[in-house]
């Protein structure tokens, strides 16, 4: 099917939807970590710092995918890999050592609280960047 394409392949087609979902996670993660850090940082400093880190990674990935330039795509690859490592590491350790995570992060239990989308997003992001590579 010949659908009209914008000039930037990274943010066209499925990429447009992917970036939209990334943006929602960027907003959700930022809002969550901001409220955690502002109101009860002492309760679980490690979990909240990780939340803030995850939020920053989502923002970077969203912006770099949306920009879709050669350089920003490289940064997007890095942030997707960091995200994947993060969600796997935090997901596993939150199950193995739940006492270290008295409060949930976006990546706890592989993002179960968010319908496992956090574990799917970086994979889809990397696949999409590879798919649109020229």
């Amino acid at each position: 099917m010949a659908e009209p394409r914008t000039d930037n392949p990274t943010r066209s087609g499925p990429g447009r939807l992917l970036i939209a979902v990334y943006a929602i996670f960027a907003l959700a993660a930022c809002a969550r970590s901001a409220s955690q850090i502002a109101t009860h940082f002492d309760r679980a400093p490690l979990a909240y710092l990780l939340s803030a880190f995850a939020a920053a990674v989502y923002v970077v990935a969203t912006a770099c995918l949306a920009a879709g330039t050669r350089a920003s795509r490289r940064i997007a690859v890095v942030s997707c890999v960091v995200e994947l490592v993060g969600v796997l590491a935090i997901g596993t350790s939150s199950l193995v050592a739940p006492s270290a995570f008295p409060d949930a992060t976006v990546w706890s239990a592989f993002g179960m609280g968010y319908g496992f989308i956090p574990v799917a997003l970086p994979v889809l992001g990397l696949l999409w960047i590879r798919h649109t590579a020229r």
Binding site: E3, P4, T6, S12, R16, A20, I24, S35, T39
Partner: protein, 125 residues
């Protein structure tokens, strides 16, 4: 959650998501020249107005709360919900393909999720 208004907004937003999903399935991107597309954007504008009313009523409710409510989270959800649809429409209209329309499905579905969270924040903190 605001009695009456929030449940209504939830269902209307779900309806808007289903409408967009149908547009995705029959591959009929929005076009501002068509009446049905304009009606659809009108529906989204109506939801946005409802969300604005919810935010105003929500802050009044928060100010008169009879129990401890995490004000930052509650206010965050009230205000955050206002951002979703305008950004989704902007991002969607930049690409008039079925993928652009799919953005509206996701955007419309975020609204019910935020309203559910709003209710959870109110009752459970």
């Amino acid at each position: 959650m605001i009695d009456g208004l929030s449940p209504t907004l939830t269902w209307v937003a779900v309806g808007a998501a289903v409408w967009a999903l149908v547009l995705v399935l029959i591959n009929r991107p929005l076009s501002l020249e068509r009446v049905d597309s304009r009606a659809y954007l009108g529906l989204l504008a109506l939801i946005e107005l409802g969300l604005l009313a919810q935010a105003v009523l929500g802050f009044i409710k928060l100010a008169n709360a009879d129990h401890d409510v995490p004000a930052l989270s509650y206010g965050g959800y009230l205000l955050g919900s206002l951002l979703i649809l305008p950004v989704a429409v902007f991002w969607s209209l930049a690409e008039r393909t079925r993928w652009g329309t799919a953005v509206l499905v996701i955007g419309a579905l975020v609204i019910p999720v935020m309203i559910v969270r709003l209710d959870q924040v109110w009752t459970r903190g």
